[in-house]
C-alpha cells in the first residue's frame, strides 16, 4: 500500500473535504479548473451547438442571458432566485453527505408552498407581520419535513431504497399540492385555480436599497439572507458538531456507523427531516418573497436542477454558493433569452444535465490520471468495496 502524504487543509478539519491523495498533483488551481470550470465550459459549448442546430444564434442568446440576468436591475432578480435554490442545495447536501438520496425535493417543495399559500392569508389578519412570517416559515419547514417521513421510516426500518420511495412521494406530492390548491385552498373570489394572494404587507421585507422587477414588492427580499445564513449553519453543523460527524460516518458506510455505535435508524430519520426542512424553507422564500400566491399548475422544479451543482461543489455548503448564483443567473437570464429566441426555458435544464454529464467525464479523466479527489463521496468507498481488501 502506498504511504503518500496527504495534502491537508489546516484551517478546516480535514474530514470535510473529501479529496483522497493522488499520484500526480495538478495543483489547487489546476484541479479547480479541471473539476469546477471545465464541465461548465463544455456544457455551454455543447449548448451552443444545439442552439445553432435549432437556428438560434448562440452569441445573441448568451448575451440575452447576461442582460436578462445581470444587467440593470436584473441581477437583483437573479439574487432572489438564489434563495430557494441555495436552501434546496443545502437541504440536499445534508442528505447526500449522510449517503441518503433525498430525491423528493420537488414534491416537498410544492406541498409546503401549497400549504402556506393556502393558510397564509388566514393568519395575516390575526398576527403581527414578523411573527406571521416566522410562523409560516416554520410551517413550511414542518410540512416538507413531514413529507419525508414515509420514505425515512421505510428506509430506517425496512431498508427500502429511498431513491424510489422519495421519487414516488414527489409524484404524489405534486398532485396532492394541486388538489389542495384547487380544493380547500382555492381563492374563493376567482375561478382560476390558485390560492388567495397575500397582502403586500404580509410578504417578506426587502433589503433596503435594492430594487427588483419580478416581484410584487420592490426590492430583494430577505429570504436571500436567510439562505446564506442557512448555508453557514449547515457548514458549521457538518464540520464542527457531533451530529455532523455522525452524518458523515453514516454517509461513508452504514456498517461502520453501526459498528461505531450510532443509532442508524434515528440518524436516517433526523437527516431526512432536516433535509426536508430546508426544502420547506425554500418554498417559503419563494411564496412569501416572490409570488405571494400559488397557481395550481405551478411547478418550477428547482430541485432536480440543483443536484449537479451540489456535486460540482463536492457537497460543500459554502462552496455551492457560487454555483447557485451561476444557476440563478442562468435561469433568470435564461427565461428572458428563451422568450426572445422563442425557445422553451427548459433549455436551461438541458445545460444542467449536460453539466452533470461532463462532470462525469472529468471525473473519469482525473481518475485515469490518478489525480485523486472525487465529486462523489461514495465513489472511493464503492471502489474499495469492489476491490475487497485494501
Amino acid at each position: 500500500m502506498t504511504e503518500t502524504t496527504a495534502t491537508t487543509e489546516l484551517r478546516e478539519p480535514p474530514h470535510l473535504s473529501d479529496a483522497t491523495p493522488g499520484r500526480a498533483q495538478l495543483g489547487r488551481v489546476g484541479d479547480f479548473l479541471l473539476r469546477s470550470i471545465l464541465p461548465l465550459v463544455l456544457a455551454v459549448g455543447t449548448g451552443s451547438i444545439v442552439l445553432v442546430a435549432i437556428g438560434v444564434d448562440p452569441i445573441q442568446y448568451y448575451k440575452d442571458v447576461y442582460s436578462g440576468g445581470v444587467q440593470f436591475a436584473a441581477w437583483q432578480d437573479s439574487l432572489m432566485r438564489v434563495a430557494p435554490l441555495l436552501l434546496i442545495a443545502v437541504g440536499l447536501i445534508v442528505a447526500f453527505r449522510a449517503g441518503i438520496w433525498n430525491l423528493g425535493m420537488d414534491g416537498q417543495f410544492l406541498l409546503a408552498a401549497a400549504v402556506i399559500s393556502g393558510i397564509g392569508s388566514r393568519f395575516e389578519e390575526h398576527l403581527p407581520n414578523t411573527i406571521n412570517l416566522v410562523v409560516l416559515f416554520l410551517i413550511a419547514g414542518a410540512v416538507a419535513a413531514a413529507w419525508t417521513i414515509v420514505p425515512a421510516v421505510l428506509k430506517a426500518r425496512y431498508e427500502l431504497n429511498e431513491i424510489i420511495t422519495t421519487l414516488m412521494m414527489t409524484f404524489i406530492g405534486i398532485n396532492l399540492a394541486q388538489i389542495l390548491v384547487k380544493g380547500p385552498f382555492q381563492d374563493p373570489s376567482t375561478t382560476t385555480p390558485q390560492t388567495r394572494a397575500l397582502d403586500f404587507s404580509a410578504l417578506l421585507p426587502s433589503i433596503p436599497g435594492t430594487e427588483s422587477s419580478t416581484r410584487r414588492w420592490p426590492g430583494v427580499h430577505v429570504g436571500v439572507v436567510v439562505a446564506l445564513i442557512a448555508a453557514f449553519v449547515v457548514w458549521f453543523l457538518l464540520s464542527r458538531t457531533s451530529l455532523g460527524l455522525r452524518l458523515q460516518v453514516l454517509g461513508a458506510s452504514t456498517r461502520s456507523a453501526r459498528h461505531m455505535g450510532l443509532d442508524v435508524p434515528r440518524l436516517i430519520i433526523v437527516t431526512f427531516l432536516l433535509s426536508g426542512m430546508f426544502v420547506g424553507f425554500a418554498a417559503a422564500t419563494e411564496i412569501l418573497g416572490v409570488k405571494g400566491y400559488q397557481r395550481a399548475d405551478w411547478d418550477p422544479a428547482f430541485g432536480l436542477s440543483v443536484v449537479p451543482l451540489v456535486f460540482l461543489a463536492r457537497l460543500h455548503p459554502i462552496g455551492v454558493i457560487p454555483y447557485v448564483v451561476l444557476l440563478s443567473l442562468a435561469s433568470i437570464g435564461g427565461d428572458y433569452a428563451a422568450q426572445n429566441a422563442g425557445l422553451t426555458p427548459k433549455f436551461t435544464l438541458l445545460l444542467v444535465g449536460l453539466t452533470l454529464i461532463y462532470m462525469a467525464l472529468t471525473e473519469w479523466i482525473a481518475r485515469r490520471a490518478e489525480l485523486g479527489g472525487s465529486y462523489f463521496p461514495g465513489a472511493s468507498y464503492r471502489r474499495q468495496r469492489a476491490s475487497g481488501t485494501g
Partner: protein, 323 residues
C-alpha cells in the same frame, strides 16, 4: 362526488372493457421498459436513466411514425434512440465505473431538457397526432365479452396491435434466454458475482454492456409505444414518471420476466382508471387519479419490497484484479 356505488354502471360491460383495454394500453410501454430494466438489473446495473430513454424513444418513435407513415418505423426508431442514449450509460458506468445513480439522473435531466426543447420547437404549435394503430384480432377469443374486444375502439386483451403480442412473446423469450442459454447465465453471474464471471473467462464489461443496451432499446421501444399506441401524440410530459415505475417493477419482479408483465398490467390499470371512471360515470378528480399509480407503488413496496430480489453486485462497478 356522485355515489360510487352505482353498481350497474361501475361493472357494466363497457366499463370493464374500458378498464381492461386501458390497462393494456398503459401497461405495454411499462412492460417493455420493465423488461429491459430487469435484464439490466440482473446484470448488476441500476439504470435510473430509464425515464430519459423512454422520452427519447417516444420522440423518435413519434417522428418516425408520423413522417414515415407506418408504426413499424416508429418502433424501430424508438429502439435505436433508446439504445443510443444507453450508450452513455455503457460508457460512463460499465466501462469507466462511474456512479450509476448520478449518471442516470444526468441522463434523465438531459433528455428531459432536450425533448422539452424539441417539443417547443417543433410541435407546440402544430400538435400533430397519429391515427389509431391497426389492431390484430385473435380469432375466436376476440369475440368474448369484456376481454375479447373485437370492434371496440380500444380493443381488449385479445384485440391489440401486433406490437403488444410481440411484447408478450418477447417476455417469454427473455425468460427462456435467462434460464437456458449461456448469455443468460453470464448476465446472472455478472449481477451476482462479477469476479467469478471474469475468472471464468467471460468479459464482464461486454455482458453488462449488452444488458444495458438491451434495457435502453426496450425503454425506447416502450416510449415509442406510448406515443404511437397509447396516446397517438407526443408531448414532453408524456412519460411522466413511468420510467421510474418501470424501475420499481423490475425490482419487484424478482428477476422473472413474467412477473414484470403482470406488474406492468396492474400498474397500467391504475394509470388508466381515469378512462374507466369516465365510462362508469364516477366523478373523481383527475389529480387524485394521477396519484394512484404512485401510491400503489408505495403500497406494493411496503408489502413486498423486502422480498424484492436485487442482485448482489447491483450498482457496483467492476474492476478486474480487484478481488
Amino acid at each position: 362526488m356522485t355515489s360510487v356505488l352505482a353498481a350497474t354502471d361501475v361493472f357494466s360491460e363497457q366499463a370493464l372493457t374500458a378498464l381492461v383495454a386501458g390497462a393494456i394500453l398503459a401497461g405495454v410501454p411499462l412492460m417493455f421498459a420493465a423488461l429491459g430494466e430487469l435484464v439490466s438489473q440482473r446484470a448488476g446495473v441500476l439504470n435510473i436513466g430509464l425515464e430519459g430513454m423512454m422520452l427519447m424513444g417516444a420522440y423518435a418513435g413519434f417522428v418516425a411514425a408520423y413522417h414515415g407513415g407506418t408504426e413499424w418505423l416508429g418502433y424501430g426508431a424508438g429502439l435505436l434512440a433508446g439504445a443510443g442514449v444507453s450508450l452513455l450509460m455503457v460508457l460512463f458506468c460499465v466501462r469507466w465505473g462511474l456512479d450509476q445513480i448520478v449518471t442516470g439522473i444526468a441522463i434523465t435531466l438531459t433528455c428531459e431538457g432536450a425533448t422539452g426543447l424539441i417539443f417547443e420547437a417543433e410541435f407546440a404549435e402544430s400538435r400533430p397526432t397519429l391515427g389509431a394503430a391497426d389492431k390484430v384480432a385473435v380469432p375466436v377469443l376476440s369475440d368474448l365479452p369484456v376481454v375479447g374486444g373485437k370492434g371496440e375502439s380500444n380493443g381488449s386483451i385479445f384485440t391489440q396491435p401486433l406490437i403488444v403480442y410481440i411484447g408478450l412473446g418477447l417476455a417469454v423469450v427473455v425468460a427462456w434466454v435467462l434460464r437456458r442459454t449461456h448469455m443468460g447465465l453470464n448476465v446472472r453471474a455478472a449481477g451476482d458475482a462479477p469476479g467469478a464471471l471474469d475468472a471464468a473467462g467471460v468479459s464482464v464489461f461486454a455482458t453488462r454492456s449488452w444488458a444495458v443496451l438491451f434495457a435502453g432499446a426496450m425503454a425506447g421501444l416502450g416510449g415509442a409505444c406510448l406515443a404511437i399506441v397509447s396516446t397517438g401524440l407526443f408531448q414532453d410530459t408524456i412519460v411522466g414518471g413511468r420510467g421510474f415505475i418501470a424501475i420499481v417493477l423490475a425490482m419487484l419482479a424478482r428477476g422473472r420476466p413474467l412477473w414484470a408483465i403482470l406488474g406492468a398490467m396492474l400498474f397500467g390499470a391504475s394509470l388508466s382508471i381515469a378512462d374507466w371512471a369516465q365510462v362508469a360515470q364516477i366523478n373523481i378528480s383527475t389529480d387524485l387519479i394521477f396519484m394512484l399509480p404512485f401510491l400503489l407503488v408505495l403500497v406494493v413496496l411496503v408489502l413486498f419490497g423486502r422480498r424484492a430480489y436485487l442482485p448482489a453486485a447491483l450498482a457496483l462497478p467492476y474492476e478486474r484484479g480487484s478481488r
